[in-house]
Structures are given as C-alpha cells and as structure tokens.
C-alpha cells in the first residue's frame, strides 16, 4: 500500500511539473496558428516565374515515374497503363512504383525520396494526403524533378501542375443531376463516401450540397453522408444502415468506385433493388452486372486511361520546358488535343462520361 501511494504521489508531481512547464511556455507567447498565418501567404507559385518556350522540341529518353495512391488498384492500373502508352509513344521511359496500401502516407513519401534519388525527370503522383508529400516533393523539385499530380492533388505550392479528371464542380453537380432525374426530383437521398479524410471526395460533396440548394431540387433532402472507408464490407454495412435509418430513402450517390460497387451488390441482393436508386462514380466493368439486372440505371466516370495519358503528356511538356505551370500556357497532348493551364496550375481533362444501358457495351475498363 505504501509503495502504491508513493508511486501515485510521484506521478502527480510529474504531471504537475509538466503542466507548469507547458503553461509557462504558453504564457511567454508561444507559436500559435494566428502568429504563423500572417507570414505564410508568400510561398505560392514558385515555379511560374521561369520562362516557358512553347516551341521547344520534346526531349527524348526522359524518365517519367508514376506514383499512384495504391499499386494493384484496378483504377490506377488502367490509368497508369494509359500513361505508359502515351509516354512510350513519345520515346520516353515509363516506370511505376507505389505502396500496396492506399493510406500508407509514409510509404508514399519514401517513394518520392527514392525517385528523387534515382533522378527521374518527372513524377506523376496521385497524393494520398494534400500536405504530407509537400516536403518530399519540394525537395524533389529542388533537385530538378518536375512534379505533376493527377487524380488527387496536393497543396498548390508543392507541385508544378495538377491534372484533374474533370472539374470537381462538374462532378459534384452532374451526380446530383443524374440522381434527381432517376428519382423524379423528389425524396430523401444520402451520400456514401470513402474515408472522411479523402480530399477529392469532400470537395465533390461540397459541390453536391451547393447544387442541391438550387430551387429545382427543393423537394430533395440530403439526409446523411456516410463513410465506407473504401472498404467493401464497411461500405456494405453503411448502406444497410442508411436504408434502415431512412426507410423512405429514394436514392444514394456514391462518388467512389469501391463504394458504389458495394452499395450495388447490397441493393441487388435485397428487397430495395430497383426501388432505391444508386448513382455515382463507377467503372463500366465493375457495374456491368448491376446495370444488366436493373439495380443501377446510370453512373458516370472519366476515362482513367486518358487521365493517365494526359498526366504523362503534361509531365513531358514540363520536362521539355514547353510549359512551366503558369496559368494561360497551352500545350499539345498527343491525340487528346490541346490543353490550357487554368487557375492554380490545374489542367482539366474534360467532362465526365455518363454510362447507361445504351452505351456501356462500348467501354471496356
């Protein structure tokens, strides 16, 4: 008993000491969010100052490295293979590296470091986290590596250009429009997203909410945003939960290929099949069976192969000095046509494609 009381006393003393130190540090004016905010707005757009030469010849034999969020992920495999074709057609070398988990940020950072070491000419990266890659990517750029993000962006000052699959606004708004048409513009709807931390998901959801404010959607209520963490089982159970909690639910939007697949599989085996509408982002191969059995009417996606190809063309144009990443510059991306760099160094692939029973036969990815 005695031993225990002394131990407790000692622990209390230690806690008190640490708190005093902490309070002391805070009292004499520490570094807070406010004190750093004032001085941090000057770091933007470092690359845009160098001059571009649109007429420069495309260099040959460059090494373009793809670093997707996750290797072995079917979506990124399609996308990177598109990139491979584009890059190799230009006479450059292609390589792909990456982590086998989609949330292994530390692993992705160490791959950026490795690529810097291998002195590749450009990296096309789909970022797992907007901030975490910044130090490593900027180190790479300091060492002369051009950085293009695709599919999922980092903060704007950590890369030269972002190749966007479709503008976030387009995606968010069109998904609402698709679903509104399917449910006749009336009723409760829900969103089944991926992880709570997924940046692109959250941006799209923001635009969906904005679109729903329009008067023509006044009869549609968004009742809940659920998170299935891009895990088949979790997305499955979240879908069940949504339907139990809101028995009058008319439709679900799932802006993630994993989520929409899991939701479709659940709906197709339940009494809700055909009664609850589902749309979102899915690949034609994944969704073919559910379109055929009437679970899903239509959904949309960009062509991931084209996205990968555009990222490749952009990287080559950057590495050849044809563009520097400043807004307004234009470059040619092979058979994809000509593209212009937009605000914040964003290049947009185009409008998403809507897939339904009439056209799905033409797509095989």
């Amino acid at each position: 008993m005695h031993a225990r009381t002394t131990a407790v006393r000692r622990a209390v003393a230690a806690v008190a000491a640490v708190s005093v130190v902490a309070l002391g540090a805070a009292a004499c004016g520490g570094t807070t969010k406010k004190s750093t905010d004032s001085g941090s707005s000057s770091g933007n757009g470092s690359a845009a100052t160098a001059s571009a030469n649109p007429a420069a010849a495309t260099k040959k034999g460059l090494t373009i490295a793809y670093l997707p969020k996750q290797v072995n992920n079917p979506y990124f495999t399609i996308s990177d293979n598109g990139g491979k074709q584009a890059v190799e057609a230009l006479g450059e070398k292609y390589k792909e590296v990456g982590t086998s988990s989609g949330t292994d940020t530390a692993g992705q950072v160490s791959y950026v470091n490795t690529l810097t070491q291998q002195q590749v000419n450009a990296i096309a990266v789909s970022a797992q986290d907007p901030g975490a890659l910044c130090t490593a990517l900027n180190q790479a750029r300091k060492n002369g590596v051009k950085v293009v993000t695709y599919d999922s962006d980092t903060k704007a000052d950590c890369r030269d250009l972002f190749v966007s699959q479709a503008s976030a606004e387009d995606l968010g708004r069109t998904e609402v429009q698709l679903l509104a048409k399917q449910i006749g513009g009336k009723g409760q709807i829900a969103i089944l997203s991926a992880a709570q931390t997924a940046t692109n998901q959250n941006t799209w959801i923001g635009y969906m909410k904005d679109e729903l404010k329009k008067p023509e959607y006044k009869d549609i209520q968004l009742v809940k945003v659920a998170y299935g963490n891009d895990d088949a089982q979790a997305s499955f159970q979240q879908t069940q939960g949504l339907l139990q909690q809101y028995p009058n639910l008319k439709g679900i939007i799932s802006p993630t290929t994993v989520g929409i697949k899991a939701a479709a599989q659940y709906l197709s085996g339940s009494k809700y099949k055909g009664k609850v509408q589902l749309t979102g982002l899915g690949t034609p191969n994944d969704m073919r069976a559910y379109l055929a059995n009437g679970t899903v009417q239509s959904f949309e996606l960009w062509d991931p192969a084209k996205l990968g190809a555009l990222a490749g063309y952009t990287a080559v144009a950057l590495a050849s000095g044809q563009i520097t990443g400043a807004p307004g510059q234009t470059f040619t991306a092979g058979d994809l046509g000509s593209f212009t760099v937009g605000q914040d160094g964003v290049v947009v692939l185009g409008k998403p494609t809507v897939f339904d029973g009439t056209n799905i036969g033409q797509y095989h990815f």
Partner: protein, 353 residues
C-alpha cells in the same frame, strides 16, 4: 508472455542455465549487426544513388519513428510484455496536436500536452495489465482500436498541415550538408539513456530477471508490477513523442497517422533477436534490426523491387529470424546431449530433454 505461447523449451530455460541463453542471444544480435554492415557495404559499392548524404538522410528520417518506439518496446518485450497500441497512441497524439493547433493553442504548449497524453495512454495499458493481471496482448489490441477510435473522434476528417515552419524544418531537415537529420540527435540521446538503463543499471537487470521468470524475480524482491507499469508508461510517452514527430516530419496531422506502425516496430525488434518469451535480447540488436529493415527497404526501392515483393521479403526475414536461432539452439543442445552421453551426465542436462 512465456506462459501464453506453446513453447516447451520455455519451461526448461531456467534449467539449461542463463549462460547458454545469453550466448545465443549474443550470437544472433551480432549476426544481425553483421548483416547490416554487409548490406551497407554492398549498397555503397553496388547500388547507385545509395551512398550520398541526401539518400542516407532520407533513410534515417523515414526509419526514425520505428527506431524511437523500438527503444522502450525492446525493454517491454525483455520484461515479457508487449504493446500493440503504439501506432494508435502516436496517431492519437498527432490528432490531438492537430485539433489543439486548429483551436489556436501555442505549439510550445501542445507538444508537452501530447506527451502527457502518451503518459496517460501508457498508464491505462500498464494498469490494466499489472493491476488486473490481464494479458498485455489482449489489452493492447483493445487499446489499439480504442485510441485510434478516439483519434478519429477528435480530428474527424480534418487534416492539419500548417504547423510553424521552424518546427517542420527541425523534423525534416538535416544538419548542413551531412547525412544526419536534426531529429536524429534527440533520438541518439534517448538511445544512450536506454542502453545505460537496460544494460548497466539494476533496473535493466531486473527487467531481464522479470522476463526470464516473473515468479523468481518477485521472490528476489523485485517490484514486478511497478517495473512493468513504468515500462508501459515509457512506451506510451515515446509513442506520443513519435506521433508529434510524425505529424511534423510529414507535415500532416490526420487521425490515421502511423497506422500499422506497431507491426513494423515488432518485426524490427524481433529481427534484432529480442525473444518474445522475455528475458533475452540487447538494444544493440534491436537497433540493428530496425536499421536493417529500413536500409533493406530503401535499397529494394532504389533497385526497383515492387512493394509486394518487399512485403513478402519482410515476412520471410521475420520467420527466419525466429526460426534460425532456435534451430541452432536445438542443434547445439543435441550436440551437448551427445557429448554428455559420452562423458559424465550432469543432472541439469536430464531436465533439458
């Protein structure tokens, strides 16, 4: 832990004598150290882009979180316990750090608070294990989920990236043009403390004694529960510190920071020859194990080995690292038995069969 795993050998450990065990442990951690040296020498000469200062600083910087937690984890495992909640504790510390920073608190105050949080996390683990007598594996699987869950509640979908620049620099830059990251200095200090504590003080000797036989240690007057509790607290504290370092090093505080770190730490510590039955191992071996895995990963990436194959190789190394010393020991024992059969059979050898 010794009594949880099926290991008929464990019961004979005391009988075969400490000398035998110590010699084995020494042998294995020297092997790992030698492997590390061989790997480094080969990589310097054969792998392009390996030996420059920048790459070495990457290697060290990315291995530091594992190296930090490996220090207290080694001591904990030596005393016969384990803590699987280290990754979650680190994640929780990072999440709380992000939340408080967003709330406008000074970073100089946030960091001590986060470390204090680590003390609490360690205390919860330690009290459940020592006071209630629960197996540490089960307890820390529980807190693994609980701490990560709390981190998710605390920070939700946010990702905090705007920490003050001088702190970010400290966590990611290196000293001048050398290969040593700034953050390696505090680690070296901690390593020194840990080495002295484990290998040159009565506390360290008590840890080995507890790991070898808890019962005997108790009769020898060692305060087993208090010793274990303090090791859990140390592990929690260092884990939280690692969480703070992680958030600054990667300039990103998210609830899922450091997910799965526990398995990397345990794999490295095991590779370094720390015996999961407790009572055996050296910090030198653990550190060699940590950097062997770190360097191997770095080299494999440089020579374009895919991450799938890296997973496979980590697993094989792990199995070999536990299997090899045991097979060697069994072979050694068989030889000893043959010798004993020829000469005078000492009475202890009988119980070892």
């Amino acid at each position: 832990m010794a009594d949880r795993m099926t290991d008929p050998m464990a019961d004979n450990k005391a009988a075969t004598g400490r000398g035998f065990a110590a010699r084995d442990a020494l042998r294995w951690d020297t092997v790992v150290g030698a492997l590390l040296v061989v790997l480094l020498v080969c990589s310097f000469s054969l792998v392009s882009n390996f030996g420059n200062a920048l790459n070495l600083s990457f290697l060290i910087g990315n291995t530091l979180p594992i190296a930090l937690i490996a220090l207290p984890m080694t001591m904990l495992v030596v005393s016969g316990e384990i803590d699987l909640s280290v990754g979650s504790t680190a994640g929780l510390a990072g999440a709380v750090m992000g939340r408080l920073w967003n709330g406008g608190m000074a970073i100089e105050m946030i960091i001590p608070l986060c470390v204090l949080l680590g003390v609490v996390c360690g205390l919860v683990n330690g009290l459940l294990v020592t006071r209630l007598g629960l197996p540490s594996l089960a307890v820390t699987i529980g807190t693994l989920a609980a701490y990560r869950g709390i981190a998710q509640i605390v920070l939700g979908s946010n990702s905090v990236t705007d920490f003050p620049q001088q702190y970010l620099n400290f966590a990611s830059d290196r000293i001048g043009g050398t290969f040593v990251p700034y953050a390696a200095i505090p680690w070296a200090v901690l390593l020194l403390i840990a080495v002295v504590l484990l290998h040159a003080t009565p506390i360290g000797r008590s840890l080995f004694a507890v790991g070898a036989s808890q019962e005997a240690a108790r009769f020898a007057g060692i305060r087993v529960k208090r010793l274990k509790l303090s090791m859990f607290v140390a592990t929690g504290t260092i884990s939280a510190l690692t969480g703070v370092f992680w958030a600054l090093h990667y300039a990103s505080a998210r609830y899922d920071n450091a997910t799965g770190l526990e398995l990397s730490v345990i794999a490295a510590v095991l590779l370094g020859g720390i015996d999961f039955d407790g009572g055996k191992g050296t910090l030198g071996g653990a550190v060699a194990g940590v950097f062997l895995l770190g360097a191997l990963q770095n080299v494999m990436s440089l020579i374009n080995v895919s991450s799938q194959s890296q997973t496979l190789i980590t697993g094989v190394l792990l199995v070999v690292s536990v299997l090899a010393p045991r097979l060697a020991r069994q072979a050694g024992r068989a030889r000893a038995r043959r010798k004993a059969a020829v000469g005078d059979m000492p009475p202890t050898a009988l119980t070892a069969v």
